[in-house]
Symmetry: C2
Subunit: 322 residues, 2 copies
């Protein structure tokens, strides 16, 4: 674990330095909102995965930092546009950008970050990198679309849930690994191996996030406790509960979610039952299976310190408590 | 002119066919809004410019249609996001998308179209094409940012106005020509020549648009008459008027625009004076200079039917009445 932490601590100044420099250059109208979202304390897991993926394949040049940050820019752009969609009022423990800076500024700042990420990617002269970025944006938008459809027509189906979390989270993490690989090599099989790693790690990451939503008080995660339930989002812990209920009670709960008519008491009760039955823990067990898959997909890679650190990063996803 | 019209009539079914096919495939949540904006009757000038630019350089393959439509997709995406920013309630003679379909659907449909354009561009395997697309998105967002800043802090300066129209219109038209050239050749000088053509034609296009805003009744343009004035946008005909007024009256008018307190009578009066003084016609004369520049920049190109049609298209920009 110390090796993983050291790697992050050594790379974070480069990553944050680049992001600070880029946002500093932006026009005043969008600078504040870009800094608000992009320079909020964050794990920078996406940039670090790009660095690790490229270096695990022997890429040694320092020109990699902008590329590593491109997925962080895309991620921030989608957070901004999502904020507008969700009406979510908390992000990373802060007020949603559009409530502070206005919808106009937030839509435009998101567009600027999308453009910047594409511009950075295209600068490396490899069209495969542009393809990966474009696919990442498309998957994220489609994931968001599915999630919205799911809120207005809630179903307790695991495959729908999986589609959503793959689109809204896992694909960008997959892309972070893929662009690192694509920079280092033209060997698609090796890129696919790192893509598989990122996809499965991303799924596990979101599963743990969804477990945490029912487990932790809001101080720790910076999000309101049981916030997904409040927003009408059906995540795995709730699906597991719905599968345990008799049909009538499950239907009643789904109907309440759809109509957004659940009382605070009913909501607290649902949260309490999910905790009582240990469904957060069960969700983490599913996450552990995906982490296992992720680590297996690293097998074709040469043995390097970075390969080892990728494995440690995967393990860390399971143990994080916020 | 007949040759130009014939070219458009011959190509429009291919262009519209592709756009219809792509929107048909989209998810239900965004399909309607994408179709509403993208399949509205339009001139399709951007796709046709990509076709003409590539073919003027000898590119003969039919795989060009998706690329030709990529700038139309970007254009539609920026229209959608602009609609949300502007509070504009009319677009191409229809109600703004977000008022009909909702802000969520419109933001997401814009993101999907941006992603699709990038995905299409990356599919041609030339990173230069991805660069051009990314620059186009960035310039458009920055043009929009400048325009918004200009509304809250109105100044009657021609260079500010030029920056805005280059960003919000001319760069995407420049990009339409550049990607066609980049597909056909790696010769950057030739690409730059076509880029110059597009940039100057795009400037002229917007100048004529801004003249039309003061000239035509709303039935013709599908936009409310004097709509720019109503939105607080300072375009060239108004700048020319402000330059004619004494300092005191100019300041008073600018202050009214800034505070959005101009009465309907005052607005009608301004429109009437701009007409009386022929400032729309003077704006068109400036446009004619840019068209001249555009046509000059075609000189390095080989003599082909497409080069001739590009010249005809440039001339048409000046004569259009809607």
């Amino acid at each position: 674990m110390t090796e993983l932490l050291q790697y992050f601590q050594q790379e974070l100044p480069h990553i944050n330095g680049f992001l600070e420099g880029e946002t500093e250059k932006m026009d005043g109208l969008v600078r504040d909102v870009a800094q608000h979202v992009l320079l909020a304390p964050g794990k920078r897991i996406r940039p670090v995965l790009t660095l690790l993926s490229a270096r695990a394949l022997g890429y040694g040049k320092d020109d990699i930092y902008p590329l590593a940050c491109s997925l962080e820019l895309l991620h921030a752009a989608t957070l901004m546009h999502d904020d507008i969609l969700d009406g979510a009022d908390l992000r990373r423990g802060r007020k949603a950008a559009h409530l502070v800076y206005g919808t106009t500024e937030t839509v435009l700042a998101g567009d600027v970050l999308l453009a910047l990420a594409n511009l950075i990617g295209a600068g490396y002269g490899k069209s495969r990198i542009s393809s990966i970025l474009a696919s990442g944006i498309m998957s994220t938008a489609q994931g968001e679309i599915r999630e919205i459809a799911h809120i207005s027509e809630p179903v307790a189906q695991r495959d729908t849930y999986m589609e959503i979390i793959i689109g809204k989270t896992a694909r960008l993490i997959e892309s972070s690994c893929r662009i690192g690989a694509a920079l280092a090599t033209d060997d698609r099989e090796i890129e696919d191996a790192l893509g598989e790693f990122g996809l499965n790690m991303g799924i596990a990451f979101q599963l743990v996030d969804d477990a945490l939503d029912y487990e932790s008080p809001s101080d720790d995660t910076g999000k309101p406790e049981g916030g997904d339930l409040r927003e009408g989002k059906i995540t795995l812990p709730l699906i597991l509960l719905l599968e345990m209920l008799d049909d009538k009670e499950a239907e009643e709960l789904l109907a309440g979610l759809k109509a957004m008519t659940l009382s605070d008491e009913r909501r607290d009760e649902v949260v309490a039952r999910i905790r009582e039955k240990g469904l957060g823990t069960r969700t983490r067990k599913y996450a552990a299976d995906y982490i296992e898959k992720a680590k297996n997909s690293l097998k074709p890679l040469p043995d390097t310190p970075e390969k080892r650190i990728l494995g440690l990063a995967a393990d860390y996803v399971l143990t994080r408590s916020k």
